[in-house]
Symmetry: C2
Subunit: 519 residues, 2 copies
């Protein structure tokens, strides 16, 4: 039974708890309104005295490594998601913990996937107290049903780095599954049978965790270069049979769509960018995960080719289409945060201008700038948008938690944020009076593209001016909402219980909204 907590109305008008899992939290204050205080977290100082002279940190099994790292009740254990649905290590960690009778762990993944469904039993038996990270699919359903002992904490990729850097989350043990490593702990994702491209999501974990375990199925002699993860942060190295299933990197949200409806949306979005003057020589773009968004590259490539222009950089998630643009000379750099398919992996290995990045360089809001804000246009998905351009990516309109935030919040700081979304899904309107869960404030969302029209945020007078007289179907967001409701009817309100099952953090660590138990 969860403790009842006090709530407060935050700057977005949402009732959010004042403490989460027994720790006080700061309510959202508005975009750019929360100023952090104090200093970054410094992990314990290590010394070479405690590490072998010959540099080899090999230990026989993951279990022995976890014991050597001091695994005990209440610890925070982190993993990365570069294998996406092909991760095999996270489940093993908690199998071991359960076998050892360890309780109340916090799992701090950079994202979760269907492959983690077996962990539900550990949420139920108390091996895992709660998850800080995405609760996707079945894990989300279980969370929404109130079956997790603690309160889930959803963060963006940048917010995850920020939380670790600022000491909001102290990782006790980081387990880094690595496609290639040496016995000193240097590791990368480029080579080996389970090559996944990069390991950037594990950077904060390596830098800030008290203990770091690298797990690999491809051990090479020192130096494992590039050392995307530096062995100087690593305590133990474990060799296993298989560290991940690279074929399963490709998940539903990372495939280019084949649906004609979605391709129509992608094409319309590209046309909008062209008319808005965004497509110019040297421009930059990012297409987030989700089939529609990812497909946008196909249209950008055609336009650039026709105009004899090239893009200075594309921010990935990389896929075969983006790689082709790079190799065709239409894009000078891919600044990649995660490879979305095996072509992305190959390209990162082979192309020096296919750059592996981390949430520190791309997304960390408590930094001296980050490069998300330099991107000219970002194309993202959403489960819902409301008439104030607020958007939701974590719950569906039935209130059930089904997705993580990923880099979505961080990307909103791009110079132009466009959400191509269908007007309705399964006869449920996507544009609402108010989003079920607020993930992104409307002031950062510039354009909504639907199959029946494009709505420009009234705050973007410059875009409205540019599109004046356009042949594109420019509408108001209310017009789009009304049209959807004419077809589908006005959706009934979701019935929630009082109990808060998860909170959604903003990029600065404040709480922008929460998710309640679904009745």
């Amino acid at each position: 039974m969860k403790k009842q907590v006090n709530t407060i109305i935050n700057a977005a008008g949402r009732a959010v708890p004042t403490e989460v899992n027994g720790k006080p939290v700061i309510p959202y204050k508005g975009v750019g309104q929360h100023r952090p205080e104090g200093n970054k977290y410094g992990p314990p100082i290590s010394t070479c005295i405690d590490f072998p002279d010959d540099g080899s940190k090999l230990i026989a099994t993951l279990k022995e490594a976890l014991i050597a790292a001091g695994l005990k009740d209440g610890m925070t254990i982190s993993t990365h998601h570069h294998f996406r649905n092909g991760d095999v290590i996270a489940n093993q960690i908690f199998d071991i913990a359960a076998e050892l009778g360890i309780k109340n762990l916090v799992w701090f993944p950079s994202a979760s996937f269907d492959c983690h469904t077996p962990l539900i039993k550990y949420l139920e038996d108390g091996t895992i107290h709660h998850i800080e990270g995405s609760m996707n699919g079945q894990l989300g359903r279980v969370t929404s049903a109130g079956k997790m002992q603690g309160v889930g904490v959803l963060r963006s990729h940048g917010g995850r780095y920020q939380a670790v850097q600022d000491g909001e989350v102290k990782i006790d043990i980081a387990v880094i599954a690595a496609p290639t490593a040496d016995s000193f702990g240097n590791a990368n994702g480029l080579d080996g049978p389970a090559a996944c491209g990069l390991l950037g999501f594990a950077l904060a974990d390596a830098q800030y965790a008290s203990k770091v375990i690298v797990v690999t199925d491809h051990l090479v002699p020192f130096p494992c270069w590039p050392w995307q993860i530096q062995g100087n942060y690593v305590d133990h190295v474990v060799q296993v049979e298989q560290v991940g299933i690279p074929e399963k990197i490709v998940s539903g949200t990372t495939q280019v769509t084949k649906s004609p409806d979605r391709l129509f949306l992608a094409g319309l979005t590209a046309k909008f960018c062209e008319e808005a003057g965004i497509i110019r020589d040297g421009f930059s773009f990012q297409a987030g995960s989700g089939g529609t968004a990812l497909s946008i590259g196909i249209y950008f490539a055609e336009m650039l080719k026709a105009k004899g222009m090239k893009s200075r950089f594309a921010r990935g998630g990389s896929n075969a289409y983006l790689v082709k643009m790079l190799e065709d000379g239409l894009v000078e750099y891919i600044l990649d945060g995660q490879t979305f398919d095996l072509e992305g992996v190959r390209s990162m290995r082979e192309n020096p201008t296919h750059v592996d990045t981390s949430p520190f360089t791309s997304y960390n809001y408590h930094s001296k700038g980050n490069f998300a804000q330099l991107v000219d246009v970002v194309i993202l998905g959403a489960t819902e948008v409301d008439v104030h351009f607020n958007a939701n990516v974590v719950t569906h309109s039935d209130g059930v938690l089904l997705h993580g935030i990923g880099g979505w919040q961080n990307c909103l700081f791009a110079k132009c944020t466009i959400l191509p979304i269908p007007l309705f899904r399964d006869r449920i309107p996507v544009i609402r009076e108010e989003v079920t869960t607020l993930c992104g404030p409307g002031e950062l969302i510039d354009v909504i593209v639907t199959e029946r029209g494009i709505a420009i945020n009234p705050l973007r007078k410059d875009l409205l001016d540019k599109l004046k007289g356009s042949s594109l179907p420019i509408r108001t967001i209310r017009e789009l909402k009304d049209e959807a409701e004419k077809i589908c009817g006005i959706p009934a309100a979701v019935q929630f219980e009082e109990e808060i099952v998860a909170v959604v953090k903003w990029v600065d660590g404040t709480v922008i909204d929460c998710v309640r138990k679904v009745r």
Copy 2:
């Protein structure tokens, strides 16, 4: 007038002060005997709120940047030495500080060179209170004469990283001269008219300084890739006419010797390595700066070629000889800490296995191991060695401070440390009863190679056994000392005053020795 301070006899038997520049210090406790406590330093948390949306941190002049960074009395200002004797920025910083009437600054360079001689006037007028870093050449003489207001602190490259990481030195403003940068502050040393290879010595400065200024004469559009320095750490970017003089990277200590005596020493050292079984397929080596040491590569190359073997990695300082070994396939990787000539710069730009490293990966003792300890054999210089194999690199036998430590102390942790030294220099014996200044404890120094014989540290019974029956002139260190004294006579003791002008830190931050004012 310097305050008289208390001294204590440390574990090496040296009288060292208990405080330096008003701060308490820890006396050296022996190799691997000092265990650090607490956590790493965390610099102030930044926020994107304070940085421009378009990412451009350009500011017109270095003066404006220093003022914007809050330059004031007593601050610690850091610079790097990748331009070696071609640095032009450090002097400008203190010219500006003097012009602004700022006093009592601490200069924290990663090394100093003859080009910094103009700073002597700022030591004398109190603009600079003291230097923490190397005091080479004229700066050393001035320090030895007691003309610096504070006490100099000499650290190894690894010790410098350790001191910053552990919060012993808090850098207020880091100024990073960068051959290439973008307006966001991403920077590298690979390209541009002043290309110097890498910027690894500025890594700690970027990561931990409160304010970071990048100065460049070659501004490129975002992204400046590779971003050896990440713009996310950078506050201001200044464009100048000239950021450094790359031709002056080559200094006296970074040129391969042409002297037949020194080449003989280098050859003898290589033969020793061969007979000791160190040269084997996949071995690794490092040749420190100093003509003799650097020449060793010539002999290793011949041996490898003859044997059909290759080295897994060579630790650089890179020069033309090492680059040729890489390009001839005799070395698989160069793990480079600083380029010693323009061939090194070119190779780092062109060869993917010519790796830019930092003192964090190579040398930091307060880390989970570092790669200096993985090197099979390191060849280093010394100004003096004593009969206990202790060595000195910072003062000459006249007691005058003339050199920095560089990576020398850090390299002693290699599997075999060899010092090829002449038996005497200018008729002054190099092997002494006791070194003038203790920089490296004898237990870490394995072999002394002189033109008249090779002394193996009695602690290395394995090496003594291996060389039994060798045709090489194996002698005891006392025999070598006696021989030198037969030729040169017994040197007179140096006359020091009580006043401590500098302290020498060990790799763990403790004080191993101090340098006193020369009478």
